[in-house]
């Protein structure tokens, strides 16, 4: 059961988006997020939705798979939309009863916020679905490397993220084992009483923490043995290179902006 949780899930497919340099993808996602919150008007959103659809098609990720990722945020979308629907002040009242007033502006606002959140999640999940976590952190390291000059320990941060990713499956396995061991000793994880259920987590968490610390200790020694020094410079096994695809992505971003500007001016 615990295996179903996929953090930073990656969907392997032979697509040009997968093969793109991670730096391009990270920058594109950032750019996408900014445009999403800057643009106004119906037609601009049509352009963004269309271009998102195009990227999804290029990435060869099944639409079903994409939509499944939206499930956990449905509640958030609904609450945001509802708040905007009822709270927005406006002149064109459509419906009014007691304290509830719905205005045309409210409907507009609600729809816009819902679309924005959904597009935001889809946009960022395209990045994580098409890029393995190691490549992603590698790309981030290079993009953030200017910060090293002002003393931000980027390499250490990236190493930490990498190790965390490496140990997620190991610790999940361990958790599974501990749950089984405690169940066989009579622990009750399915009690209806939420207080009891939370209490039942303690005998899972404590052994898990003990083992995680032991692993951390072992790993630290093993890393030292392999000459790891957090303060020293390291070379990199992985090398990223901008290719044709990245150039196209850049061109696409330019065209994207031009279209949005034209819409803004014309409409």
């Amino acid at each position: 059961m615990i295996r179903d949780i996929t953090i930073g899930q990656y969907y392997d497919a032979p697509s040009p988006i997968h093969k793109m340099d991670p730096r391009t993808k990270i920058l594109w996602t950032l750019f996408y997020m900014i445009t999403l919150f800057v643009v106004e008007g119906f037609w601009s959103y049509v352009v963004i939705v269309a271009s998102t659809a195009l990227i999804i098609a290029l990435s060869k990720i099944p639409v079903k798979f994409m939509l499944r990722g939206l499930k956990p945020i449905i509640l958030l979308v609904v609450i945001t939309a509802a708040l905007n629907l009822f709270m927005t002040q406006g002149e064109n009242v459509i419906f009014s009863k007691g304290i509830f007033t719905i205005t045309l502006e409210g409907v507009y606002m609600a729809a816009k916020m819902a679309v924005r959140i959904i597009l935001l999640i889809i946009g960022t999940s395209i990045l994580t679905l098409t890029t393995t976590p190691t490549v992603l952190t590698g790309g981030l390291e290079i993009l953030l490397s200017p910060l090293k000059k002002i003393g931000v320990p980027i390499s250490v941060f990236v190493m930490m993220v990498g190790i965390a990713l490496r140990f997620i499956p190991t610790l999940l396995d361990e958790t599974d084992k501990i749950i089984k061991a405690q169940t066989s000793r009579g622990a009750d994880f399915e009690n209806k009483n939420p207080v009891k259920r939370i209490k039942a987590m303690i005998p899972i968490l404590i052994p898990l923490f003990v083992s995680a610390f032991r692993r951390a200790d072992d790993l630290a020694v093993a890393m030292e043995c392999r000459c790891y020094n957090a303060d020293a410079d390291r070379s990199s096994y992985r090398r990223f290179a901008f290719g044709k695809r990245d150039f196209y992505a850049l061109m696409y971003a330019v065209i994207f902006v031009i279209i949005l500007v034209v819409i803004k001016v014309v409409l």
């Binding site: 072992d218 093993a222 392999r226 096994y237």
Partner: protein, 282 residues
């Protein structure tokens, strides 16, 4: 030439009330190209000794030199660790990266090896341990024996003079154990890498050129496997045993069957028994 030279090596834990001596005046020299097994009961100090060979622990007294580098020499610490690679018991807790080949490259990245050279060495190391076709895999999807071979490749890529293995097979199933043992033996015989292996499997120790028995931080026996495993009573009194075939040969001898040479492997044992029956072993 000696790769490792321990002179009057002492290591002790001190607390306010008492002092616990773990290594008691050890004098051990390990020759280049040799395969040494260190055996001993729990608490005999064998793992502590292993950690001294890589400057993870520093001696309380005496000294230990690895490739002529004193472990107390902080300036040459990384040089020492590069020369003496270390493989630990738990295969999960020594793999750093999420992809096999990147893990093998970890040590090389730390040594700032240049890009092309790094790829070449990673490939060679993975081929040497027979894991090249798994280079793109995630480590948690490998078996214990495979993970341990990846860990060996990670050390091997750093081109060490000597590899120290601290109970590398203790957490593996019999198949994984055999894979790791075969890898270790081929590195020793074909690449002439000095091996120091700490183990509590006597059958593995029997494959070494030399067996050192530690007890309470002291060297009790230090000889060829044949001579060490001759002394069954002494080993038993230290809480150790002998390889199964050696034990069988001992028992046969006791019951009057004439077996004169020291037996270490099942093959030798079978040969002797067949010889006794007047057949030859093919």
């Amino acid at each position: 030439m000696n790769i490792i030279e321990a002179k009057n090596l002492i290591f002790s834990y001190k607390s306010n009330t008492h002092e616990k001596v773990v290594l008691d005046n050890l004098n051990i020299n390990i020759e280049k190209g040799s395969f040494t097994a260190i055996i001993g009961h729990n608490g005999s100090g064998k793992s502590t000794f292993a950690k001294h060979m890589n400057a993870i622990l520093l001696p309380s007294g005496g000294s230990i030199c690895v490739c002529k580098i004193d472990s107390k020499d902080e300036e040459r610490l990384y040089e020492l660790r590069k020369s003496a690679g270390m493989v630990f018991q738990n295969p999960d807790n020594q793999i750093v990266a999420t992809i096999v080949e990147e893990d093998v490259a970890f040590g090389l990245e730390n040594l700032c090896i240049e890009h092309e050279e790094m790829h070449k060495r990673v490939e060679e190391a993975l081929k040497a341990v027979n894991m090249y076709k798994y280079r793109k895999r995630a480590p948690h999807l490998l078996s214990g024996g495979q993970k341990q071979r990846v860990a060996i490749a990670g050390v091997l890529a750093m081109q060490p003079e000597c590899i120290i293995l601290d109970e590398p097979t203790a957490m593996l199933d019999p198949k994984g154990r055999r894979e790791v043992m075969d890898t270790i033996l081929s590195l020793n015989k074909e690449k002439n890498i000095t091996i120091v292996m700490i183990t509590h499997y006597m059958d593995e120790a029997a494959k070494a050129d030399r067996v050192i028995v530690l007890d309470k931080g002291k060297v009790i026996l230090d000889d060829t496997p044949q001579n060490v495993f001759e002394k069954e009573e002494e080993l038993l009194s230290l809480g150790l045993s002998v390889p199964h075939s050696t034990e069988l040969a001992h028992r046969l001898r006791k019951s009057g069957i004439k077996i004169d040479r020291a037996i270490l492997t099942p093959e030798d044992c079978a040969k002797e028994i067949l010889k006794h029956k007047g057949n030859s072993y093919d």
